[in-house]
Symmetry: C2
Subunit: 213 residues, 2 copies
């Protein structure tokens, strides 16, 4: 957005924005044209004050008491997040999980195109999953360059995750989605997001335990 | 922990604790006996000040300048989170994703035992996955009670997620792990965690876009 400097936006706000996009898309699909910060907050589980504060980083989207225009806000946030572009992704580690990731239609629908798959096990290399042939991990460097891969998804066992990550970082990939149940270390200019259902469960047992005590 | 009231602990701290447990477990596996808040912070990507502040909610774990005893801190945090107990979980929606969840060894290793699987499609009902037979969703209410299910994992398509959630809530289940790409609404005494890799990717493209601009 003109005149706005992205680097001033707190990371916690950046991480909430995709939830805004998802909620606004649902409202749009239900033909809702205008939404108040109260309604949007209810849908997202945050306060209206938080909604207004978050959105204020990106410009003026609504008029006091009038609510937000759903289509306009959705378009702007999609643009801010870069969701109006197509992105290329590769998966490393084609076991049960990696195969499920490659087969999940939700990525392509949202503009994340799986363009390569890698494994190190001789058994898997050369097999076909959807439209991709699983490549030898040794072809990683060359393929990241030739296919201009933006994002790498790591689905290898925990003990291999750091060495695979190091290799990905050397290819100058700046975004990693890590499914391995380990925190990987990366330079500060590389973003990592983790998908770890066990961590999610463990933060709920804290509350379950209180019910039992 | 004696004298501590769990309800005063900010939710953001609760959600960080499982990461502490994971990092401490890795240190323990490497035979490291004492860790400073600086080292723990480096491993987790947070500041030492944050570490000390987070842990202060649960009692006094370290002495100034001495660092934390890894085994003791690990035991205490596992107790705080209820990870020294076994928990029962059921999966609803046994497609490709639900099958992968049921087959993932990481849950059982961490004390989350999959004790039931449900689907609504006549084709899948009755099929065996590991040690479980997929049950008709109509048996949900009875099975949640008879097997004392603590946690339900939802792996149905987005358009069914809310109605399935409503049904789970009626069974008095207080913890839901939602893999459907939609925010489900629940009463305030029910905890929901979402696993949505698309949201994770979308919060990274914000940064990738800045690199391209």
């Amino acid at each position: 957005m003109p005149g706005k400097n992205n680097s001033n936006i707190p990371e916690v706000v950046v991480q909430r924005l995709p939830q805004y996009v998802r909620a606004l898309t649902q409202l749009h699909n239900r033909n809702i044209e205008v939404v108040s910060s109260k309604e949007l907050g209810d849908a997202l589980g945050v306060t209206p004050v938080q909604i207004r504060k978050d959105l204020s980083y990106f410009g003026r989207f609504g008029k006091q008491g009038r609510g937000y225009n759903v289509v306009f806000l959705l378009q702007e946030l999609r643009h801010v997040l870069g969701l109006d572009k197509q992105w290329t992704a590769a998966v490393i580690g084609i076991g049960r999980l990696g195969s499920a990731i490659l087969s999940y239609p939700g990525f392509g629908q949202e503009g994340f195109n799986m363009v390569a798959a890698f494994d190190s096990a001789p058994l898997g290399i050369g097999s076909r999953i959807g439209e991709l042939i699983v490549q030898n991990i040794d072809e990683l460097e060359r393929t990241v360059k030739s296919k201009a891969i933006d994002i790498v998804i790591i689905a290898v066992p925990a003990e291999q995750a750091q060495s695979v990550t190091d290799r990905v970082v050397k290819c100058r990939v700046k975004a990693i989605l890590n499914y391995a149940p380990i925190k990987v270390q990366v330079p500060s200019d590389v973003r990592v997001r983790e998908i770890d259902p066990v961590l999610a469960l463990q933060s709920m047992t804290f509350h379950l335990k209180s019910l039992h005590d």
